[in-house]
Amino acid sequence: MQGPHPDGLALCRIQSALAADVVVGAGKMDIPVTAVYASDLMSDVLAYGKPGSALLTGLNSKQAAISAYMAEFRAVIFIRGKRPAEAICKFAEEKGLVVLSARDDMFEACAKIADLDGTAADPSPSEDLRPPMVEEETIRYAFLIDGHDFASAGMVSTQVKAILKTVGVEPALVRRVAICTYEGEMNVVMHADKARTELVLDDHEIRVVIDDEGKGIPDVTLAMQEGWTTATDEQRALGFGSGMGLPNIRKNADVVDLTSVVGKGTRLEMRFRVI
């Protein structure tokens, strides 16, 4: 997983170090790989693997080739002399993956590759090569909200809620985020032309940012007060614009940051602590 070769290590060098057989992709041996991922657990390849890597595995199944393809790896190296089946080779060929077969066991193969370029001599990896679990784990989603589209209002908050529920965020917190996102979404539908919404989730915070293009809010402090509204009578007849939106957001979010430029747009950032 770790990337000891930021500039890439040509596959032919790995192949000769391991004295590996080239099973698929003889014409692509000058392609560089930027990291090596050594594992048999394919569900982890997608979670940890970085594009451009080579997969070193003892799992001789099509699952290995598909996972490598999905993780945008460049090569699969089967260890302990394992020879992949015809179907695996065919799949690799189609998807442009290089397949090698080496006789070493996993440790020997890792050690030999690490020896190339003398990386094994440096036991402390540089900053950007830190292993993934030390990195902060973050996931981002982006959505678009159409202004004036009352028919689809609530779609974004519903999607945000579904994502948080799937991850397993605590129900009460999901609810608070959903309420705030819904209120923010309604503000866009009522007052703006369109907005980009971003959901960012990491292990200590959920952040929802709604960045709209529209008329903006002249007095942000006033807008935060209960009952303050610029909704039209029609909007209010539909049950919107009671002036409770922003106060409701402030009640439910841990941190609210509202900035606005009249004539340009409004940026609403809501943060929620994850305990």
């Binding site: 569900s43 979670a47 609530g154 908050s157 991850v167 409701n248």
Partner: protein, 428 residues
């Protein structure tokens, strides 16, 4: 993490009958079903026993587990409480007395009705709504599948569930007390059975959502009983004197199709919704606090309400027409004694035994950082999938499949777009 409690389900799965149509996968509202290696598998804690799979499967893979007349005969005094839906199954002109007599002929000693309690609960609901101004909307607990949907997918809405008991449970309690009083038998010698129009009722009796104990001793399926009742009902109808005075039978609103509970409540803003697709939309809105102005929500899992239950025989629209006829004929009754009902309400007669709690939610992995990683992995798989939701991998959607892969519960090789072998397994 707590050990996962076992969940009782009202049907058995006969894998040998499964031809792999995968219709059930698509119909399941909580994505609880999978086809793994050509065999149907159920994720137990997700199943809410709504019965959609039973209705969708042309092969009868899902067999409801109900009690039978043999179970009824174990008791010395046998009381039956029919679902209101039963009275709508034999045509509009059939008299309720014929159906009740047919029930007695099958071996019951007594027929107890839910209708008075339904009417009383209208008064109770109204009172509860007035007295409790906090949470809105309050949600009816009449439909067990909806209650379970909330426990599984909308844990936040558990606090919206109205903590009032349901008509059939109250009727069962009163019927047992009455029978004990009249016959002098000990309570355990009296068997009280419900005739259900859907499998979720069976589960609500065997494993109540509030984890208390049901007042029923068992549940019979309307569908199973129908064939036994039909010849008797027809014979009794034939023999009946058309000039006889109208029998004294009270049907009331007969809670069995959408809108009846809301109508019984009367006051305040009520909303009625039926069909799980629609219920889910309404629940999403409530979670975004969109429906704060609604006082009471009647939510039923089946299309049109209980008349659309998986154990119903008659087409729900015909049944609905029959219900309207019954309401016209037997809907009126003497004045309601509101004061007596409220007195019983204050004495706790209508209260639910225990509060309903959400089912524990499961993270994608053991902790949040790892769950986020799994989620990323899911999105990565999903992005590369064909996104045709063909279902051939055995998961209902590409999205569900990506999630299964991230959890290590499915193999990427199960996707037919990646491996032809998967096609052979699926069409075995």
């Amino acid at each position: 993490m707590e050990p996962e409690p076992g969940y009782y389900h009202a049907f058995s799965i006969n894998e040998d009958l499964c031809k792999g149509h995968s219709r059930c996968l698509r119909k399941c509202p909580t994505e609880a079903l999978r086809l793994r290696r050509g065999r149907i598998a159920m994720i137990s804690e997700r199943c809410i026993d709504c019965g959609e799979c039973l209705l969708a499967c042309p092969e009868g893979v899902f067999a409801p587990i109900c009690d039978s007349m043999e179970d009824v005969k174990k008791f010395r005094h046998k009381v039956v409480v029919p679902s209101p839906v039963l009275y709508a199954q034999f045509g509009a002109s059939v008299q309720p007395s014929s159906i009740r007599q047919a029930l007695l002929n099958t071996g019951f000693d007594e027929v107890a009705e839910t209708f008075y309690n339904s009417r009383a609960l209208g008064v109770v609901f109204r009172q509860y709504i007035q007295e409790n101004r906090g949470v809105r909307p309050l949600i009816s607990t009449y439909c067990p599948a909806v209650v379970r949907l909330i426990q599984v997918k909308y844990p936040n809405l558990v606090e919206n569930l109205m903590p009032i008991n349901i008509p059939r449970e109250i009727t069962a309690m009163e019927a047992r007390q009455g029978a004990v009083h009249r016959t002098g038998l000990p309570p355990e010698a009296v068997g009280v059975f419900y005739i259900a129009a859907c499998p979720s009722i069976v589960v609500s009796v065997k494993q109540p959502a509030e984890s208390g104990t049901s007042r029923f001793d068992g549940v019979l399926s309307l569908r199973n009983l129908y064939n036994a009742l039909l010849p008797d009902v027809l014979a009794l109808e034939k023999a009946a004197d058309a000039r006889a005075p109208k029998e004294s039978f009270f049907f009331g609103m007969g809670w069995s199709w959408m809108g009846q509970i809301g109508q019984a409540v009367g006051a305040g803003k009520c909303l009625s919704v039926a069909g799980l697709d629609h219920v889910v939309k309404i629940f999403d809105d409530i979670e975004s606090s969109k429906l704060r102005h609604i006082d009471f929500l009647e939510a039923l899992a089946c299309m049109q309400g209980c008349v659309g239950g998986a154990f119903a025989v008659e087409n729900p629209y015909v049944a609905r027409a029959n219900i309207i006829h019954l309401q016209q004929q037997y809907g009126q009754d003497r004045e309601v004694d509101t004061e007596a009902i409220l007195q019983r309400y204050r004495a706790g007669h209508y209260a639910m035994d225990l509060p309903i709690k959400p089912r524990p939610t499961r993270m994608l992995d053991i902790d949040l950082p790892t769950s986020i990683k799994r989620m990323k992995q899911k999105e990565r798989v999903f992005a590369k999938l064909p996104q045709k939701d063909c279902g051939l991998c055995g998961a209902p959607t590409c999205e569900a499949f990506a999630r299964d892969c991230a959890l290590g519960e499915a193999d990427l090789t199960d996707c037919v777009f990646f491996s032809e072998e998967a096609v052979h397994v699926r069409t075995r």
